[in-house]
Amino acid sequence: MNKLLPVLLIILAAALIAAATIHSSSLVPATTPEGAVRALLNQVKARDAVGAYQYVATASNTAPDDFKRDVFGQESNLRTYSSLQLFDTKVLREDDQEASVRANLEWASAVGAVRDTRDLKVVREDNSWKVIWPVQSRPKVPPQVIPVNYLRWDIVTRGLDDDWGAQNVDAPRVRIISMNPVEKDGDFILLGEIENEDTVPGFVSVAATLIGKDGQVIAQEESFDKISHVLLPKEISPFRIDFPNVSRDRIKSVHMQPNAMLVPASADPVMGVMHQALNKDARGHSVLKGELMNQSGQTVNIPHVLATFYDSAGKVIWVSDGYVDQSLAPMTPVAFSIGVRDDLASQIHSYRVTVNQYTRDRVQ
């Protein structure tokens, strides 16, 4: 017993440690298409670019550095602020040499959870399965000087020691030019557009209070990131305010509070939204696709696309948004795609896309 007990305790401890530690190595060659995708994504999750690249097929024609930039980001784009949190995979099609695997990805990012679906082609190479991971090569912009002489508005406000009657500068005039309440999946949603009618830039937000049939406040919410907060003169932004789990029949009235402040602002960058078109994605869902073009000389780190959809009467019927995980280099088109409600796709008569942006080294 005296000698047996310590040996037993050591063996038990070793067994327990082994039970919690030893798993199949994640870097072994993948024997199934789904295994290859999972192995690659597991390495991405662990932020191991070298490990992940081992599961990229040579047929991808993707250099390791390009792969790394695509997966882990560059130029302070959204991907650099993201890490893969969760994923699930599903084999769509498979034969001896080739397969198609759908990966639903959830990224934890600086702007919240970003969900993405990729249909990946998996091929057999050297007796193991590897993933085709094409990376869109960026067109090279020739060296050039882009003169930037856009406006900037600065503000001098009333001093603290000024007389009470002394004049201050007024906040910009903004107006809600359209509004439409809708109900979806048990949520009450306010959609609309707000215009800066003034000749100075405005920092705007829209808040709404729902008043119940008993006169009591049911809920208060605001547009949060479903709006462009900085509006230049005559600029129009869509807004969307979501009230989760509020039924429309409980509501007696809605109190809208558009707020506007005069803030220093810059008129650049100018971004074009090219080749917008309603399409279907790989899963058959309606999406609005297009390309963003930064027409100024400074890289935009994180673009945010807001789309307003109108029916044939010109009424706003939906507002959707999406963050683009690539940065916008000058004069370089970047594709975007944002979801559209399938049930509304047939009612959409026109749409308008606006681009909001975050640039790391420029604070407006």
Partner: protein, 283 residues
């Protein structure tokens, strides 16, 4: 219940005090900041009490002519003097107009807007008292080199106000209130109103893209719409819709839209729509 005996004693004491009380005489009105004299009959020292809207004071004085300095009567309103149990009241009125507090609204206004500019003048003397007597006041709103609009009025209860139309020309308008020798100036920025019409033209860029450019964008009074104003150019073709939110620069907005064989080009600023061009199919 108050006992009878105690009431009697109190009555006798009060009667004695009243009999001994000095007669106090004061002027009916005094101008703020100027002193006055209170006459109290009798002789010897006594205590003076003065209550007014600006505070209260207690001072030992000699009966007879009691001087109250202008510093003690700066705030306009009713004052009460008590000397030896006798009291008298007088009214301190505001001194002559010394200062105008001028509140002008708004700080920016679209040109040619009806009754869009408001001004309120609060008339004060040198001691921050509202001058309640009616005083003629003149308001004038004009962009430099323009006749502008002038309105004469009279103050009422220390306040004069006006509502004016903004001028047709954009620029910093001087909004001036004058009363006597006192003048206060505010600046109201008259800015261009919504664009009256937007005309654009299009031509092919060397790289095949479509260059679109507006004519100088003006409001209906002919003022140039401020630089930085957003003008949205849109092109719709078989490949989809393309849009650029361009900024007006030196009165003109321009943008580059993607190349297309046949496209419909349109332009808008805010809710104002401009002309439409059918690219490739003739205008």
């Amino acid at each position: 219940m108050f006992p009878l005996r105690r009431s009697l004693i109190l009555g006798i004491v009060c009667a004695t005090v009243l009999t001994c009380a000095a007669q106090v005489r004061v002027p009916a009105t005094v101008q703020a900041g100027s002193g006055t004299t209170v006459q109290a009959s009798g002789s010897g020292s006594t205590m003076l009490y003065l209550f007014g809207p600006g505070g209260a004071l207690k001072r030992e004085v000699q009966r007879g002519n009691i001087e109250i300095s202008g510093q003690e009567l700066k705030v306009a309103g009713r004052y009460t003097v008590i000397v030896d149990g006798d009291s008298a009241s007088f009214f301190v009125t505001a001194a002559p107009l010394q200062k105008i507090a001028f509140v002008a609204h708004p700080s920016r206004v679209p040109a040619a807007a009806s009754r869009a500019v408001q001004g309120s003048a609060f008339l004060f003397d040198g001691f921050q008292n509202l001058v309640l007597t009616p005083i003629p006041v003149t308001f004038r709103l004009a962009v430099e080199g323009d006749n502008g609009e002038e309105r004469r009025t009279s103050s009422r209860d220390g306040v004069a106000w006006v509502q004016l139309n903004s001028g047709r020309r954009s620029g910093p308008a001087h909004f001036v209130v004058t009363s006597g020798a006192i003048q206060v100036r505010r600046i109201v920025q008259q800015v261009a109103a919504d664009p009256c019409s937007i005309r654009m033209s299009a031509l092919r860029a060397p790289d095949g893209n479509i260059l679109v450019e507006t004519a100088p964008v003006q409001d209906c009074s002919g003022n140039a719409v401020p630089d930085g104003t957003i003008v949205t150019f849109t092109s719709v073709d078989a490949a989809g819709r393309s849009a650029v939110d361009a900024r007006i620069k030196r009165g003109i907005a321009r943008a580059e839209l993607p190349a297309s064989r046949s496209a419909t080009l349109s332009v808008a600023a805010g809710v104002v729509l401009g002309n439409e061009i059918h690219w490739g199919g003739g205008q």
